[in-house]
């Protein structure tokens, strides 16, 4: 299974923010969409960074003025992006190893979605559960 099978049931949604938007607005978007991260995209729609709730919390812990700052001030710039054909097993490994919770997915340079480590873990679990159930049915059904 690959990333595409997760994106297929997420309605092609990827919540984005502009790098020059204030953190206050970004928080509003996180709350409104009930997501843990927003992808910062430039004018052309290319991802240039990612802003997670953690980034905000980390900054807020040391800086009271965080709400007035801009997304670009605290977003993570070194974003690893996935492609729809990447296998889930490899992606899960890389995300765990590098402590990434949200992965923007890009196809031909265009942002097409975002998957979270939670999405991947659930999909993997359902896959194993399904295989187990199928095996069981096969054995019991004889």
């Amino acid at each position: 299974m690959n990333i595409a099978s997760i994106l297929a049931k997420k309605g092609d949604k990827a919540y984005t923010v502009r790098p020059d938007q204030p953190i206050r607005e970004a928080l509003g978007l996180l709350a409104k969409h009930n997501v843990g991260a927003l992808i910062a995209v430039d004018e052309a729609g290319h991802p240039v960074g990612i802003l997670s709730e953690r980034d905000v919390v980390r900054e807020a812990a040391k800086n009271e003025r965080v709400f007035g700052m801009k997304v670009t001030d605290i977003m993570t710039r070194d974003v690893i992006t996935g492609s729809p054909h990447d296998d889930l097993m490899t992606v899960a490994h890389t995300m765990t190893e590098r402590r990434i919770r949200h992965l923007p997915v890009v196809d031909k340079g265009r942002l097409i979605g975002i998957v979270s480590i939670g999405d991947i873990v659930k999909t993997q679990r359902d896959k194993y559960q399904g295989e187990l159930d199928t095996l069981q049915a096969q054995v019991l059904g004889e």
């Binding site: 299974m1 992606v91 097409i112 559960q129 049915a137 096969q138």
Partner: protein, 466 residues
């Protein structure tokens, strides 16, 4: 109007599609007692079970025993089946909206993914979907023709479907005759003159989509020797590192099995099954009459994407592979249903966790849901559809609790049945199906086969009238 989901006014749900997903969803809907639910399940075919009947290979009978669990679901007093009733043709979305509080699409993936290479549509090049449907006796595919008089068949792809196709092409008449394969397919395949069957993987052995029991079975065929090139199953440095890092036992085992095949000597069986890796067809080439005669293959190398996944890219090396028959087994694809939003990127109904979305607002369309292959795409075994259906059913119950259901004008079982009867007087009920099932099994018993399928819809209806 009474609150839907009570004894006085049960929640009326229409499930479109009687594949595994439809049954799992029905089970989740009916097997709880907070909400009173009535399920009507529709399938365009007279027979239920979807790909379990018409996809799963005939020489894999054991797995088909899951249908016993499906029959238990169907025995629920608030479950009805209407076979031979097609959504979009016999019943429209407007019809369903007038009779049900919720509509759940479980229509699977009815067509094939395209490869997008020149010559793909030459005569003699077929999607695996067609061949699979044909040998399993799908009523829509009985007229399909495959030229089995050629010497070599090539199956593109190394998923489990590709393995099914290759295995069926390699089976002996005796092996096939003990299955429920369609009679016409048994006849045609017994006369097959194919000597060599190729399976083509575009990546390496460690990335092959087939699973271990399936690839092991290919090494145990009565009528075919398996052949693999040692250099193609030797792991490249990237794959070796990836396998070592993931420590995935199944992948390690898969590579071992394939490397074992590479050192086997042929034992003189009538057919040879050749599994190749790191090659992609880039063009199918035909003769003057437009019939495929060969394909051009390019050799691939693997590269790591930013997430570490290994993907193929073409090198400058290419080769030609003569072949008179080509099966493209690169995945299935969902088809849009009339009036239902579709996501072209993945070939699924546009949805969020199973809630159908409006394409413009990306907000849920009240009362419409999707589950299974038409929701997440064509991957996963039968049981994978169970948690998938559970996720959708949970959304359905959540929405019901919010009062976000349709307000049908005729929310009762009798008027729904009257409508179906008016549109399709000869629909097949579950009782009818169970009778057909018994008849098929009885016909099979006489020949020492699990069943002999009814193929033509007319034939089924005639058997029921007797």
């Amino acid at each position: 109007m009474a609150q839907a989901g009570t004894q006085a006014q049960p929640l009326r749900v229409a499930i479109i599609g009687a594949g595994p997903t439809g049954y799992y969803a029905a089970d989740h809907l009916l097997r709880q007692d907070r909400v009173t639910v009535e399920v009507d399940m529709f399938d365009r075919l007279p027979t239920p079970y979807g790909l379990v009947r018409l996809g799963v290979a005939p020489d894999h009978q054991k797995i088909k025993s899951v249908t016993a669990a499906f029959d238990k679901v169907a025995a629920h007093p608030r479950f009805r089946f209407f076979g031979g009733v097609e959504f979009g043709k016999d019943l429209t979305l407007a019809d369903l909206r007038a009779h049900y509080h919720q509509i759940l699409y479980c229509t699977g993936a009815q067509t094939d993914r395209r490869m997008g290479i020149p010559g793909e549509d030459l005569r003699g090049s077929h999607p695996a979907t067609e061949f699979v449907a044909w040998y399993n006796g799908h009523p829509d595919y009985t007229d399909a023709e495959f030229d089995l008089s050629v010497e070599r068949a090539v199956v593109v792809g190394v998923g489990n479907v590709a393995v099914d196709v290759a295995r069926i092409l390699c089976r002996t008449r005796e092996e096939l005759a003990a299955t429920d394969i369609a009679d016409y397919a048994l006849e045609a395949l017994s006369r097959s003159r194919i000597r060599e069957v190729y399976l083509l993987g575009r990546r390496g052995p460690a990335q092959a989509a087939f699973t271990n029991p399936e690839i092991k079975e290919l090494g145990e065929l009565a009528g075919a020797d398996i052949k693999v090139r040692p250099e193609e199953v030797e792991l490249d440095p990237l794959s070796r590192a990836a396998v070592a890092k993931s420590q995935d036992r199944a992948t390690t085992k898969k590579v071992e099995i394939l490397q074992g095949y590479a050192i086997r000597r042929p034992t003189g069986k009538p057919r040879t099954l050749i599994v190749r890796f790191l090659v992609s067809p880039v063009e199918l080439i035909g003769d003057a009459s437009g019939r495929v005669v060969k394909m051009r293959l390019v050799r691939n190398e693997l590269f790591a994407t930013p997430t570490g996944a290994l993907q193929p890219r073409p090198t400058s090396q290419s080769e030609e592979l003569p072949a008179g028959l080509v099966f493209r087994s690169v995945g299935y694809r969902g088809v849009p249903l009339p009036g239902v939003p579709f996501n072209e990127s993945w070939g699924v109904i546009l949805n969020d966790k199973g809630r159908v979305l409006d394409p413009d607002t990306k907000q849920p369309v009240p009362g419409e849901y999707a589950a299974g292959w038409i929701k997440r795409g064509p991957t996963g075994v039968i049981g994978t559809n169970k948690p998938d259906a559970a996720e959708t059913v949970q959304c359905m119950f959540e929405d019901l609790a919010q009062g976000a259901v349709l307000q049908p004008r005729h929310p009762d079982a009798a008027s729904a049945e009257a409508l179906v009867r008016q549109r399709r007087p000869h629909y097949v009920s579950y009782t009818d199906w169970l009778r057909l099932d018994q008849l098929e099994v009885a016909r099979g018993r006489a020949q020492g086969r699990p069943r002999v399928k009814f193929i033509q819809v007319e034939e089924m209806l005639a058997a029921l009238r007797r």
